[in-house]
Symmetry: C2
Subunit: 143 residues, 2 copies
DNA sequence: CTGTATCCCCAACGATACTG
DNA sequence: CAGTATCGTTGGGGATACAG
């Protein structure tokens, strides 16, 4: 993107382009915002559940799959890999027959528990009110 | 879904079907889990930003659009409507010329601020470590 | 047992144009 | 000023089959 060199009017390239630039900049800012990065992690559908499932100790893969009855293998593996990649849990392979893999929270991952707890507490205390609003709102215009 | 009444072997319809049933049940459970409902709300890309933008008082639509430089009109409106629907903010129309609309947090919505603050604090304290892990992990296998 | 590989769908998000 | 309408892209997430 080059600035207009000549002193020409150039009525175009103003509003829309400025918008685009602002967007790009803001997006870059958002991509670096720690809070948003965290929300993207824990917002993943299975992350909070996996972390909670590991709260009281290591679990095997099949163990997790049973406890999180709704998860597909693909998503469970993907979630675990992402969390491992971020240093939130460890993956330990025991090369026996049959193979055995244990997952456990790291201290960093365990540090997430109080935060998840806070989220859960807020949710249990206030979500009913939120849902009541939602239904009232929908009901009023369902007609 | 009926349980197998007879003591018959019925090799088919077992594993896969049981899986499906478990999934459906678990999904239903998740749909009702307050913590997940909350995560779905605040996980929306613009929700936390909008709530924060309203932290210190009401704002007009165009005001919000300026402060959240990256948001499209569609997403801003959609986010605001969702939050209004959930009783987290109010929408006040002043029928003047030109039209004017103010958005403000309700007490319920303001109650979200401490939680968002907690998320932000955790993120600022620990996300650098998470990102360091991530890069180390990626770098190790980037070859 | 612990995954990987593949295909597919859909909802989120964005871009653009138009309206009261 | 404050939206609505419409279209297109993208990636999250699930189903299924296969592999070490």
């Amino acid at each position: 993107m080059r600035t207009a060199r000549r002193g020409e009017p150039m009525a175009t390239t103003t509003a829309a382009q400025r918008r685009s630039a602002a967007r790009a900049g803001y997006d870059a800012y958002l991509a670096e915002c720690p809070a948003r990065q965290l929300l993207e992690r824990i917002g993943d559908k299975w992350v909070s559940l996996v972390v909670n499932a590991l709260a009281d100790g290591p679990r095997r893969y099949s163990d997790l799959r049973r406890r999180l009855a709704g998860v597909s293998e693909k998503m469970l593996t993907q979630t675990l890999r992402n969390l491992e990649r971020d240093g939130l849990l460890t993956r330990t392979v025991t090369a026996s027959v049959p193979a055995r893999v244990d997952y456990a929270l790291t201290p960093l991952g365990a540090g997430l528990l109080p935060l998840l707890r806070a989220i859960k507490d807020w949710a249990e205390e206030h979500m009913p009110e939120v849902l009541a609003h939602r239904e009232a709102h929908d009901g009023a215009r369902a007609d």
